[in-house]
Symmetry: C3
Subunit: 173 residues, 3 copies
Amino acid sequence: MTPEAGRGRSAGHAPGPIAAVSVWRHGTRLGPTVKSLTEYLTFDVPERMAFLNITPELERIVERSGVGEGLLLCNAMHITASVFVNDDEPGLHEDYKLWLEGLAPFDASPRRYRHNRTGEDNADAHLKRQVMGREVVIAITAGRLDFGPWEQVFYGEFDGRRPKRVLVKIIGE
Amino acid sequence: MTPEAGRGRSAGHAPGPIAAVSVWRHGTRLGPTVKSLTEYLTFDVPERMAFLNITPELERIVERSGVGEGLLLCNAMHITASVFVNDDEPGLHEDYKLWLEGLAPFDASPRRYRHNRTGEDNADAHLKRQVMGREVVIAITAGRLDFGPWEQVFYGEFDGRRPKRVLVKIIGE
Amino acid sequence: MTPEAGRGRSAGHAPGPIAAVSVWRHGTRLGPTVKSLTEYLTFDVPERMAFLNITPELERIVERSGVGEGLLLCNAMHITASVFVNDDEPGLHEDYKLWLEGLAPFDASPRRYRHNRTGEDNADAHLKRQVMGREVVIAITAGRLDFGPWEQVFYGEFDGRRPKRVLVKIIGE
């Protein structure tokens, strides 16, 4: 890492009358040692639906990568699971489960979902995953996940009880 | 590509009592030949709502790029369309259409949606696109899209019958 | 920037019988001067729910970065806010507010949401943010945000009346 621009504060432009914008800048000119690191996490969740905090594992991968400035991609490799950023608060996770069940109810019968006429019973999980998202892209700044005060990364399982994988890829310097 | 760290298996840390985590590592120190490639795909879908599998086209672009390790961004350039990853199963696609129609019904009248008081009739398409997402970011590992067993990329059209574009950008080594 | 592959047009492969695909190519081999730039925007929105167009600020950051080819990550650093791409049309924004309120109604009482038994009143904001998303990744091509005709970036606030931050990170050449 060759820090060419230090941290500084500059007056920002407000995008509209209702917002005050302040800007802190942190610029780095990367040298020729651009690196990538790819890792795979495997989960076998006993419940049908569950949320697991994977932030500590991501922090360890960032540390192992030695990347100072870069991007981290973390995505579910299965299409009935999500990776998302939100709060590590058990009550909220219960709210998510009830809310998602209302938006896309589990129904193994072939009546509600055509996908379940193929022998599957997990059409609802394919829908829930779209609401919660497949992936997150997270900034790495000064060797750390560049997070706000409450941001935590979760693996969201909507059709558990079998091993499933998450990909983590870091590109940077 | 200068593979400095080979593939290996290491015992991972479980993020909680209900998950077993295994980690495979694939690390690469990129040389100075970092590359980017940008391509644009154009679609003209005769239906109002449809899902098209664009995975083969993305695989051809990755091959053309010559990138071994990197990230691929694929996004709709129009705000009534999506790019998302899910299953190539026609029954599931019908489920998505019915589900999205329930969450955000088409209604060309100016009564339900204020956006349709502007002369437009596609407010529902702007809402559906938020559920399904604008973009995906996909890892490229060892020269291939690094996908789980069923991951396929779809262009989701919610206001078709005119030409619309998708951007594909690759950055890597 | 060392443009090795010029712009060209090639006949693309249609992913199915209902789509015509055209491909324009713009390839660049990046030199060793890969750069990153990180900035933070702060918002203090007086309403509980509001959408702010932050595209001009992102354009200024891209210009300051000097990056010609790269990726821009823009994400909310708070978990009751979103960054998303859609249309700058006030009627549509009203539609989003009503629609989100229908999907995840505000209810400060501890009855509807368990999260609000913790002393919080913003469980609905955590749900709304999942529908609208945490982040966008945008291509930078030839020194500009590579946008379709109507794409604009918005900060989506779902629990305002306190200062909150957005991260912008650029990686490229």
